[in-house]
Structure formats: structure tokens, C-alpha cells
């Protein structure tokens, strides 16, 4: 068995966040090892062939693969061992194990970074009545089929959920000659970025049905029909069912941080992000274990997932392996959906908090309050749940154990 115990930092996940952090860490003299479960590194960006990446980090509007090529170029001469086709199977007796075609690999290190990305919500998360035919897929699956394998996922396609992946795929499928009959969104507002509504739906006259959901499907072998209903403000179906004949239904109903491999280790999970609880270094309650990128919380932009990982590098350079006993807990307040970090150390100067709103906000104010004392406030002109925002707060101003983040 290969035993790798001489590295300072083990990075699990060779996607954009993991590669970016590996590069930055090695440049600071930290000996790094990268493991990835696929046959090529790059993570999800390999299949994100559209633009919208790299603006913050490279100052250019790049495609996903181009960002990965940049990162590969940057780590090329840094002498970082990269193990592909290596699946992390979790910790056992304080060591982290991987299965690969080369054998079982054992690693032990003071610091671990998990950058495993996200998984998609599937049919199990929403209940759709009817048969269980072929033709119902998640949007990310369809993206891999189309962009990496170059195969045709269907002829006549409906999309459930107006999150970015669904919008991006709507455009992609039209460009590849398939028919997209519409995007159905249960909420009265869309879930993806406004620019994607414009350039993916409006550009191609793909109808967006807000306040609609798919209740039932039929088809004994391959999907034949979907049955759609309008919903009221309580998201309950109203009115008559509308039938659409399609052979493919793509589900773009949300992403979930992928941290299952750590769940058996009594990792503290945040029910609002569905990712781990972390402090401002993105350190979890498990000794030496940091989580970054979509594994931590679903980011809206890959650049943010990458740059925020520097919080973890900061913690590692400072030798942080466990939480300080004295920390400040951030409570979720009005109109806030979720945020990271969920706990912060006291008197550490300025700390960034990444948050999302729970519904579209127009002309309101964001507050970080300690009881009635305002620690931070910011005017919000317009903010959608799809757009993650960040604020810089001064922890030196906080005296108590708890603060609340809210919008009023």
C-alpha cells in the first residue's frame, strides 16, 4: 500500500478551488498533494464550456476549460504530485484513504482541504407522480453528456427549475439543434443570474413559466409527456393540468455541497447551507480539516469559490487545526437564506462574510447587529437569491457571543 505521510497538506478534489489553493499554498512553501476522482483534473469546469469565468482572477471573461488551462499552466512547474482516478473513501484511525487503479493509498497530514464540489438535487427531492421512464436527468448530467461525450440527450426537452445550470443547458441544447419547449420554475421569481435569463432564454425565445411546476410524467420506456400546473403563493397547485409532449426532462432544482465522505465523522453540518459549519478560516469542527468551494456552500461564481479559499490558506499558515474555544456565533435573521462562515473568532480584525438573500430584495438595509448595537450596515438596492454577496466586518467591534445578520 502506498503511504504518503510527508506532505504538509492533502487536497481532496482537483477542481478550480482545489487547484487554485494548491498553487497558492505551494508558492508559500507548503508541500501539497492533490487527489482527484476523475481521469482529468479540472472538476466541473471541464464541462462548463460557456463564458462567465475568470473575470475577477484573470481580468478576462473566459470559458471553464480556459480557466483550468490557466491553472494547469500555473501549477506545471510547481512540482505538485497529482493523483487522478483516486476516490477518497474517508478517514479511518486518523488517516485518509483513497482507492485508485494503482492501489489503496494512505495519507496522513496535519492539514486536509476538501474541495469536492457539489452534487445535484434529483427526482427524489421533488415528488413527481407517474412512471419512471428513461429521459429524466439532472441538468449537470445532461451537460456532461452534451459537452464531454458529444451525445444527444433528447429531441424535445423541458427544463424544471430556472437555476443557472438549467438556463445554460437550455441555450446549449438549442445551439446543438434540439428543441427546448420551456423552463418551469415553481417560485414567482427566477433562480439563476439575470444575464442568463437574457442570453439563454430571451435570445432564443424559450418561454419561462414562473409559478409553475411539473406534477406528473408519463411514458413506459422513454418519457412521453409532462403534466404541468400553476401554483399559488403557497406553492400549491391551482387550476388545470397542462400537458406537454417531450422526451426529455432536465432537472435544474438545486445544488448541494458534496461532503458525504466526512459525514460519518460527526462533522457539524449547517442546515441552511447543507455544508459544514466553519470559522473564518473555513476550518470545520474536525481537527485539521478545511472545506472550500462548493463543498462548503454553493457559490454563484467560480472566481469567488477560488479566491475565498485563501481563507483556508491563511488558517493553515497560522497553524490553525481546531476552533478557538471563544468564538462568536452568527445567527440567521430576516430575509437571509444562508452565509459562511457561521462562526468567527474574536478580535481578528476584518473578516469577510459571504451570504445569500432568501427572496428578491429591493431597497432595503443589511445589518450585522449585536443585540441592538449595529456592528455593520449596508444599503441593498437590488439583490436576487442567485447572487451571493460579501461584506467585510470588523470583529474587534464585537463583544458578545452572538450577532445576527438580517435585512430590514
Amino acid at each position: 500500500m502506498v503511504k504518503l505521510n510527508n506532505f504538509d497538506l492533502v487536497i481532496v478534489g482537483g477542481g478550480p478551488a482545489g487547484l487554485f489553493l494548491a498553487k497558492e499554498a505551494k508558492k508559500k512553501g507548503i508541500n501539497v498533494l492533490i487527489f482527484d476522482r476523475e481521469d482529468r483534473i479540472g472538476g466541473i469546469l471541464k464541462q462548463c464550456i460557456h463564458t462567465g469565468f475568470g473575470l475577477e482572477i484573470y481580468g478576462k471573461d473566459l470559458t471553464g476549460p480556459e480557466v483550468i488551462e490557466n491553472l494547469k499552466e500555473e501549477i506545471k512547474n510547481l512540482d505538485i504530485p497529482i493523483f487522478t482516478k483516486s476516490m477518497c473513501i474517508g478517514f479511518e484511525d486518523g488517516k485518509l484513504y483513497f482507492y485508485s487503479p494503482k492501489g489503496v493509498i494512505e495519507t496522513k497530514s496535519d492539514y486536509y482541504i476538501f474541495s469536492l464540489g457539489a452534487r445535484e438535487r434529483n427526482r427524489g427531492s421533488v415528488f413527481i407522480e407517474g412512471d419512471r421512464p428513461s429521459g429524466i436527468f439532472t441538468a449537470g448530467f445532461a451537460q456532461y453528456i452534451t459537452n464531454i461525450l458529444g451525445l444527444k440527450i433528447g429531441n424535445k426537452i423541458a427544463i424544471l427549475g430556472s437555476g443557472d445550470i438549467g438556463l445554460i443547458m437550455a441555450r446549449r441544447l438549442i445551439l446543438e439543434g434540439m428543441e427546448v419547449i420551456g423552463v418551469f420554475e415553481i417560485m414567482p421569481f427566477y433562480g439563476g443570474l439575470p444575464r442568463n435569463i437574457r442570453q439563454c432564454l430571451e435570445d432564443f425565445d424559450i418561454p419561462l413559466y414562473l409559478s409553475h411546476t411539473i406534477l406528473k410524467v408519463s411514458g413506459d420506456k422513454r418519457l412521453k409527456k409532462i403534466f404541468v400546473s400553476e401554483v399559488d403563493q403557497n406553492l400549491k397547485p391551482i387550476g388545470n393540468l397542462k400537458e406537454f409532449e417531450v422526451d426529455t426532462l432536465l432537472l435544474s432544482i438545486g445544488l448541494l455541497p458534496e461532503i458525504d465522505i466526512l459525514k460519518k465523522d460527526s462533522l457539524k453540518i449547517d442546515s441552511k447551507t447543507l455544508g459544514p459549519f466553519v470559522n473564518q478560516y473555513f476550518l470545520t469542527n474536525k481537527e485539521g480539516v478545511y472545506v472550500i468551494g462548493n463543498s462548503l456552500t454553493i457559490f454563484d461564481l467560480v472566481d469567488k469559490a477560488m479566491t475565498s479559499s485563501l481563507n483556508a490558506l491563511d488558517g493553515i499558515l497560522k497553524g490553525k487545526r481546531i476552533w478557538n474555544k471563544d468564538f462568536i456565533k452568527i445567527k440567521k435573521g430576516n430575509l437571509i437564506r444562508n452565509f459562511v462562515p457561521q462562526i468567527i473568532e474574536r478580535d481578528v480584525g476584518f473578516v469577510k462574510i459571504y451570504y445569500r438573500v432568501s427572496e428578491p430584495i429591493i431597497n432595503k438595509k443589511l445589518y450585522l447587529k449585536e443585540d441592538n448595537k449595529i456592528i455593520f450596515e449596508k444599503k441593498i438596492i437590488a439583490k436576487y437569491p442567485a447572487e451571493m454577496d460579501e461584506i467585510l466586518i470588523n470583529t474587534d467591534l464585537i463583544e458578545k457571543d452572538e450577532v445576527i445578520l438580517e435585512i430590514l
Binding site: D61, T63, P65, E66, N147, G150, P194, D203, D300
Partner: protein, 113 residues
């Protein structure tokens, strides 16, 4: 008054167009975009092309600058004719000045093996 969402970068600023006035843009790219949207809308096209003889099956490609929105499918049809059967470097030009639109089609990835 018309409100459009700028698509130049993911910020997606909501730019207001009132007659000849363009308001609420945050950078000059946004202003350019808003001006063009009215007169001659442009888009960046990305797609994949077939790869033969390597483990990879597709190569992601893009135009290196925006092209007119109404020429998207024509450009796409030209790009579809490309078949990659030898090594290619990221940024390598696969089609020069496609359909005379002053944009090149370039490779987004390097294929070496």
C-alpha cells in the same frame, strides 16, 4: 423606458435605456453593450467540436470576440465542420476570421495525449 440586463460580466447590471439616453451602467463595457443591444446585438459563441484518435471525444472551442447575434447559427454551422485529429494547444486558431466577422475560432483546451 426599457430595462435590459447587461451580459458582459456576471454582475448583470440592469441598464436603463430611455430614448437616446443610457443610464445605470457601471463600466464602459456595459455602455458599449447597451449601445449595441439596441442597434446590433452581439454574443460570444462557445461550442464543442469532434475529436478523433484521442481519449477525449470533444474539444471546447469559442470565438475570440463577439459576433452578431443574428449570425450565431451560421457561424455554428461552419464550426461544426472542424474535426480535430491531431494535437492542439489552447488558444490555437482553428478558423481565421470566420465568415469575415473579424472573429477567430480558437481552442479552449490543450490536447496532447
Amino acid at each position: 423606458m426599457k430595462e435590459i440586463t447587461c451580459i458582459v460580466c456576471p454582475l448583470g447590471c440592469r441598464i436603463l435605456i430611455q430614448g437616446d439616453n443610457i443610464l445605470n451602467y457601471k463600466c464602459k463595457k456595459g455602455l458599449e453593450y447597451a449601445k449595441n443591444e439596441i442597434t446590433s446585438p452581439k454574443r460570444v459563441l462557445t461550442t464543442t467540436v469532434k475529436v478523433i484518435g484521442f481519449e477525449r471525444r470533444r474539444l471546447p472551442v469559442r470565438v475570440d470576440r463577439e459576433i452578431p447575434k443574428d449570425k450565431l447559427f451560421l457561424v455554428l454551422r461552419e464550426i461544426k465542420k472542424i474535426k480535430i485529429d491531431k494535437k492542439v494547444k489552447r488558444g490555437e486558431i482553428l478558423i481565421y476570421n470566420i465568415l469575415n466577422l473579424s472573429a477567430n475560432v480558437i481552442s479552449c483546451e490543450t490536447i496532447e495525449d
